[in-house]
Amino acid sequence: MKTENKIKMKSRKSQFQFFETIGVLIIIFFFIFIGLIFYSKFEKTGFQRFSRQQASKTMIEFVQSITTNPLLSCSSQSVTKAACIDELKALSVAKTTKNFSDYYQKTFGKSTIRLEKFYPENASIVIFNNSIPSANLEKAFIPINSYNPLNDTYNIGVLVIERYYKT
């Protein structure tokens, strides 16, 4: 009888220790899980910041490629002029967009490119338009000379480049 009671006591003790160990493990995993949640939130914030930085960097590259693109920039006998857009080229690009839509989509992507002339002539030329209504937008305003080869005159203007992206 005494021996039986002793065995029963030991069995209860071991069961109690068993459940204690399980409880400790559950708590450990709970804390690890909480830690992972915080870590993933931290990574997400870091990733969003990285995306914004990348978008700005891409915008700078994009602006540079537009302002030096041979399809738009002024040239005379193959000599390119800096900070200058040929108005006839701009109009030609606008006209040929449909014929080479695949090419322009790859070159200009999701963007809108406009030439706004201010002085002495006031006018606007939409060079390329491929906007996404609900996307994020990066805008750049580049002071530029706008050259008209027909009357060999220059206008002061701004190249407005709007680039759309989704995070």
Binding site: Q17, F18, Q54, S65, D86, K89, F100
Partner: protein, 334 residues
């Protein structure tokens, strides 16, 4: 019961260790990809900004990651650790794999005859460019065009000892050379590089011509890959820095696509100029006639892919007629 407890502890411990091990290996993979992505992003910035500055040569420091350049069947990209940047419209002439701490980037403007694009050629000091000095002739101009920082060698045809210790070799021979036929077919047991190509350049003025590609075989001889055309120094340099003929042809097609679009824009521009010219003006004939600027630009646009051989002829006519137009006080077509 005590033994059972220990087994349980071991199993639980193994599970926990396994969990942390898998977490760390996933983190390792993620951070390797992250580093690869950052390097790729920085490389893209370097190449994009370099492409806006013509006639430049720069050396870019690279981390020890292998970059794969791929161009085949209208798909082209460069990638690091599986992350790719697509380059469907930008010809980049390079070897198919790059793994060197210093990347040498050569930007050369391509004119046809108006500026079409800035061609990018990528190489490293591990790429030996070997000229065989036998009637180099016009190829001397090509040698002068290449920056001195490259691994350039000139060797004697009587003693073709290829310099050792490089990962890749481009051996350049002029078609005028007395040994051009011989070297492509004879076996050359002396230091024949296993990784490389031989190109025979056929040109009289470096403005246009053809490049014949040969690749080394296991039996120590050269195998003919084929002949491709080049138009302008930029494309000739591209042939030198390309992995092989198929890589060069793929990038050549990209360049010709850009030419087609550029010619189309210039044609549209010429039509607008033509509209503003009165019928009695001499400029009208230069723009609107059968051999006029509009038709020439249209021919250039049509033949950019269809008939490469005709491109040079059209380019020369375009240049000629445009110079007459400028001399007569007309608006330049480009």
């Amino acid at each position: 019961m005590v033994g059972f407890n220990w087994i349980f502890v071991l199993i639980a411990g193994a599970l926990i260790l396994g969990f942390f091990y898998s977490l760390s290996s996933v983190q390792e993979k993620t951070s390797t990809q992250k580093v690869g992505g950052e390097v790729l992003s920085n490389l893209k910035t370097v190449l994009k900004t370099s492409a806006t500055s013509p006639k430049t040569f720069k050396t870019v420091s690279m981390p020890g990651l292998e970059i794969e350049f791929y161009c085949k069947d209208n798909i082209s990209y460069y990638s690091i650790k599986g992350i790719a940047t697509y380059t469907d419209l930008e010809p980049i002439f390079s070897l198919s794999r790059f793994n060197h701490p210093e990347m040498q980037v050569l930007i050369t403007p391509w004119y046809a005859p108006f500026k079409v694009l800035n061609s990018i050629s990528i190489t490293s000091k591990n790429h030996a460019i070997v000229f065989i000095n036998d009637s180099l002739g016009v190829l001397k101009g090509l040698l002068e065009e290449l920056p001195s920082n490259l691994s350039l060698f000139i060797i004697n045809p009587s003693n073709i000892a290829i310099p050792q210790g490089f990962d890749y070799y481009t051996i350049i021979l002029s078609a005028n050379s007395s040994i051009s036929n011989e070297i492509a077919t004879r076996s050359n047991p002396i230091n024949l590089p296993r990784f490389g190509k031989l190109i025979v350049v056929n040109t009289t003025d470096l403005v246009n011509g053809s490049v014949t590609f040969y690749s080394p075989t296991n039996s120590n001889s050269w195998q003919l890959e084929g002949t491709s055309n080049f138009i302008g120094m930029a494309l000739l340099l591209g042939a030198i820095f390309s992995q092989d003929k198929s890589f060069y042809d793929c990038n050549l097609e990209k360049a010709l696509k850009v030419l087609e679009v550029t010619a189309s824009v210039y044609k549209q521009r010429a039509l607008m100029i033509n509209k503003s010219i009165s019928d009695s003006d001499t400029c009208k004939i230069l723009y609107d006639s059968n051999d006029g600027l509009i038709n020439l630009l249209n021919s250039l646009k049509i033949n950019s892919h269809a008939n490469k051989g005709k491109i040079v002829e059209i380019m020369k006519n375009l240049e000629h007629v445009n110079s007459i137009a400028i001399r007569n006080g007309c608006v330049s077509a480009y």
